[in-house]
């Protein structure tokens, strides 16, 4: 049910319902935005059909994380309409962009769809419900407080005519004309009838019969296909190509040079590349593969992961730049006064000093199962776009920018996405398709080969980190200095989850640095925390061990008084069967990391065979995310991000040589597969009872690799300080 695919019939159906039913607009800043002092104008809307079907607009994209279910749930909660009567409809990106950001934002990431957007989404439902009540009170001529709106039905007791009743649909047109004196307050936790219940995602059925439409599935009349190649060394430029050499190949239509506008490609600029257009994508790809192309590789040609590592090690050998209090929220409950100036002396005079070795994580790609793809049809008076994007408004504007067109004439049609994970942000595939379509005067579908996808992706950045700590008589750290080196494009990622780790060390100092890098960088599920957690949480184990503490007790002690963390750690102690002494080549390890406002603990059980093969027998998660609006969705996302990050930690890792990523398909960039998946993955959400909204799309990833590495240590006595773990000598 509830599927609107990209067929003409469905487009018409959607437009009719928009035109014919009640349209609710509303206009309130989120509490967070109002508090931050940069309140944005907010509008969103829903329609009610005469047959009492409610269509709810979803400005965020659906990549399997459930936005097209959670958004309707939040609206339906307030509207009070049976879930079976709810349909989801795509937001109109053009209308959004050209009406002062009608839906506030169409950005989809950072696990924010529920956590940050619920105030205005719930308000949409509440506002509609109140206007329906007012409409009924007027038509029935009964006082407003006698009118009840519940499960799609309006009722009232009337002295003379007795019980009055009507559907929302019957009052929709009247309600559309009602202006409320004041917006109703949204319901508080505890008053919910739908939120908090297990609801199956509405997008599931279309994904079991091949009917779900992704950008790669879109066809328009007269469409041709393009394969693209950008410089294999990012930031490099095209010098020349020899189209004559491939012109005669079957199906080949044209070659198009894609010109980079800025000197160094910013995240979403078109990069220097060349495309072959053909009647079939297969023909385009074949011709591109053999066309002679000359590149100017640029500065990246001398950069490799080895050279970056050497640079990082030399940076780590001397003090880094000090992270100031005001640059990051340093320490939970100790935002001020971490005494960074006191740390060097305390370390120098320590009676017991712990000196960490260097930890690191490599680049990783998004490698969404659908490679980046876009269909663009450039006509004289309008442009139509279907693309891989986590922000429909931003991508629409990028296409307008690429073509020098008014955004009013650009129409971006939302489809399902074949994964996202942050990869749908820094994306120039629709710019490529727009430039090619404009150049050849025909609609075109650009599909990146997997090799081109991985070579040109905005990668998750590498990190190198180490620490020193002075321990007191009780074995607990009294002073700590961390030093994390990232890369120069998004150095901030190297600090996430480091400076704001929860451990209450009285004297702390956080230093940082960055290596030269030409590889594009982007958001990658739980950015920063994903790699840094691996280092911080093995450091925690090393400090506990050096001080003679059990690693779980150490964490409980070091977060004393921080209730949300305590709840997770105590649950881990009670329920996980925790021990550091399993013997027999088996080990348990744990880690706990906060990302996106959610605290996630992981306990891993591993066994290591005599030949050094690692088996992950069980993963248990303990999660405090505040409210959980759909426990089924929460479980799905928790499992998903766990497997995601375990795949990188065990097998992944991009190799960078002579400026280029060399492992660009699934034969060489290896990831998690069915036989590698732990047989048991348990997700415990009971400790999520607090009154705040944490995100759930990403947080189980970051604690997974360190929990596994810690478990391997207890199984074998060997500490693994980089990934992929499966390549370690055990």
């Amino acid at each position: 049910m509830n599927q609107h695919n990209l067929t003409r019939r469905n487009f018409l159906k959607i437009s009719t319902s928009v035109a014919g039913g009640l349209m609710i607009g509303f206009n309130l800043p989120t509490t967070a935005e109002a508090a931050a002092g940069d309140a944005t104008e907010i509008n969103a809307w829903l329609t009610i059909d005469p047959d009492n079907i409610v269509s709810i607009v979803t400005p965020q994209t659906e990549m399997g994380q459930g936005a097209w279910t959670s958004i309707p749930m939040m609206v339906a909660e307030e509207l009070d309409i049976p879930w079976e009567s709810v349909r989801n409809v795509r937001a109109d990106a053009n209308r959004h962009v050209n009406n002062g950001d009608l839906y506030t934002t169409t950005s989809t990431g950072g696990s924010t769809t529920v956590s940050k957007r619920h105030p205005y989404m719930m308000q949409a439902g509440a506002s509609a419900r109140e206007r329906l009540r007012v409409a009924a009170s007027k038509r029935w001529n009964v006082p407003l407080d006698k009118v009840v709106a519940k499960q799609g039905i309006l009722t009232a007791e009337h002295e003379s005519s007795g019980k009055l009743q009507g559907t929302y649909g019957e009052f929709a047109a009247d309600a559309a004309a009602v202006t409320l004196e004041a917006e109703p307050a949204i319901k508080a936790y505890g008053d919910w009838w739908l939120l908090g219940k297990e609801v199956k995602r509405l997008d599931v059925p279309a994904k079991t019969n091949g009917s779900a439409i992704y950008p790669i599935d879109v066809s328009v009349d007269g469409m041709v296909y393009a394969a693209v190649q950008a410089c294999p060394v990012p930031e490099g430029k095209l010098v020349s190509y020899d189209f004559e050499a491939v012109k005669g190949m079957p199906g080949v239509i044209a070659a198009v040079e894609l010109k980079q506008v800025k000197d160094i490609a910013a995240f979403t600029d078109l990069r220097s590349a060349v495309a072959i257009v053909a009647e079939s994508w297969y023909q385009a790809k074949n011709a591109l593969a053999v066309m002679p192309i000359v590149w100017d590789f640029g500065r990246g040609a001398t950069i490799s992961f080895d050279s970056q590592t050497a640079e990082a090690l030399s940076l780590l050998a001397t003090p880094g730049t000090l992270l100031k209090d005001e640059e990051g929220n340093i320490g939970k409950g100790m935002d001020k006064g971490v005494n960074h100036d006191a740390v060097p002396d305390l370390i120098a005079s320590a009676s017991k000093l712990v000196t960490g070795e260097v930890y690191s994580r490599p680049f990783e790609a998004h490698a969404t199962m659908m490679p980046p793809c876009a269909v663009v049809d450039v006509k004289a008076d309008r442009v139509d776009v279907w693309t891989f994007t986590q922000d429909i408004a931003r991508s629409l504007s990028e296409v307008a920018d690429q073509l020098g067109r008014d955004t009013k004439t650009v129409f971006l049609h939302q489809t399902y996405l074949g994964g996202g994970f942050g990869g749908g942000y820094n994306m120039d595939v629709h710019r490529q398709a727009a430039a090619i379509s404009e150049s050849i005067g025909r609609p075109v579908k650009v599909i990146r080969s997997r090799e081109e996808d991985i070579a040109q992706d905005s990668q998750r950045p590498p990190v190198w980190g180490t620490y020193k700590a002075a321990l007191g008589d009780d074995g607990l750290p009294i002073a700590l200095v961390t030093h994390f080196v990232g890369e120069e494009k998004m150095p901030v990622f190297s600090q996430r989850g480091v400076a704001n780790m929860p451990y209450l060390v009285p004297n702390r100092r956080h230093e940082y640095g960055a290596v030269k890098n030409h590889i594009p960088i982007g958001y990658h599920r739980a950015p920063g925390a994903n790699s840094n957690g691996f280092i911080v949480e093995q450091m925690a184990d090393e400090l506990a061990q050096a001080g003679g503490w059990d690693p779980l007790d150490w964490r409980i002690k070091m977060t004393e008084g921080i209730e949300p963390w305590q709840r997770v750690l105590l649950a881990m102690k009670e329920k996980s069967g925790w021990t550091t002494d399993m013997g027999n080549g088996e080990g348990m390890g744990l880690a706990i990391v906060e990302s996106h406002g959610t605290i996630a603990g992981c306990v891993a059980n591993v066994s290591v065979s005599r030949r050094g093969q690692i088996y992950i027998d069980k993963l248990q998660y303990f999660i405090n995310s505040g409210y959980v609006i759909n426990p089924l969705g929460a479980h799905e996302q928790a499992e998903s991000s766990a497997v995601w990050e375990l795949g990188h930690a065990m097998f992944g890792g991009l190799q960078l040589r002579e400026g280029r990523i060399v492992n660009t398909n699934f034969d060489s960039y290896t990831l998690m597969r069915m036989p590698d998946t732990p047989p048991v993955i348990e997700v415990n959400l009971e400790m999520s009872q607090d009154q705040w909204w944490g995100g759930l799309g990403e947080p189980t990833g970051p604690p997974t690799p360190p929990a596994v590495a810690n478990a391997i240590f207890y199984a074998t006595g060997t500490r693994i300080r980089t990934t992929p773990l499966s390549k370690a000598e055990l």
Binding site: M63, G64, Q65, K200, R201, D203, V204, P205, A206, K207, T208, N209, G210, S211, A212, I213, Y214, I216, D217, S219, Y225, P250, S280, W281, Y282, Q283, A367, T368, M369, M370, P371, Y416, L417, G418, G419, G420, F421, I447, S449, R450, L632, E636, E639, S640, S641, A642, V643, W644, G647, N665, F666, D667, L671, M672, R673, M674, P675, T677, P679, I681
Partner: protein, 152 residues
């Protein structure tokens, strides 16, 4: 070259290079887009279809080799989205982004036709060629067992 492909019981006359991978013939020429492209080198399974009862990766199967054979794609699994594998997938909410799932379902259908109650080991083997970046493996495993139950 004009050839005839039998897809989901229907003959499709198409004019293609005989070396073209079956995947692109199915998607671009026959217009059936449920079968997906993921890697092009038989490593991810997104393009899995069933040819004469066996799961094959259509991205590296030349279209000429499929002539005269019965090709089944996700669109041909059932008319009403109610094959036991599809029902199990829906019941256990397997798909997330969904992009890999046509291939996963075709591999699972082929597995269950050859082995009606597969063990976890058999599942691992049959499904090892299908990558899911959304990490739905635990649900796929459970759903295959569930589909086996529904088939009984």
């Amino acid at each position: 070259m004009a050839i005839t492909l039998n897809i989901n019981g229907q003959d499709h006359e198409i004019d293609v290079d005989p070396q073209m991978p079956l995947l692109w013939a199915i998607r671009e020429k026959a217009g059936l887009t449920g079968t997906k492209f993921g890697c092009g080198i038989a490593q991810c399974g997104a393009c899995t279809v069933i040819v004469d009862g066996n799961a094959v990766r259509s991205c590296n199967t030349p279209v000429a080799t499929a002539v005269g054979k019965a090709i089944r794609t996700i669109e041909g699994v059932s008319a009403n989205n109610d094959h036991p594998v599809q029902l199990a997938w829906q019941e256990l909410t397997v798909p997330q982004c969904g992009y890999c799932q046509s291939g996963q379902i075709m591999s699972a259908v082929a597995l269950l036709e050859n082995s009606p109650s597969p063990s976890d080991n058999e599942i691992d083997k049959a499904m090892a060629g299908n990558i899911c970046r959304c990490g739905t493996y635990p649900r796929i495993r459970a759903a295959i067992h569930r589909a086996a139950e529904l088939t009984k």
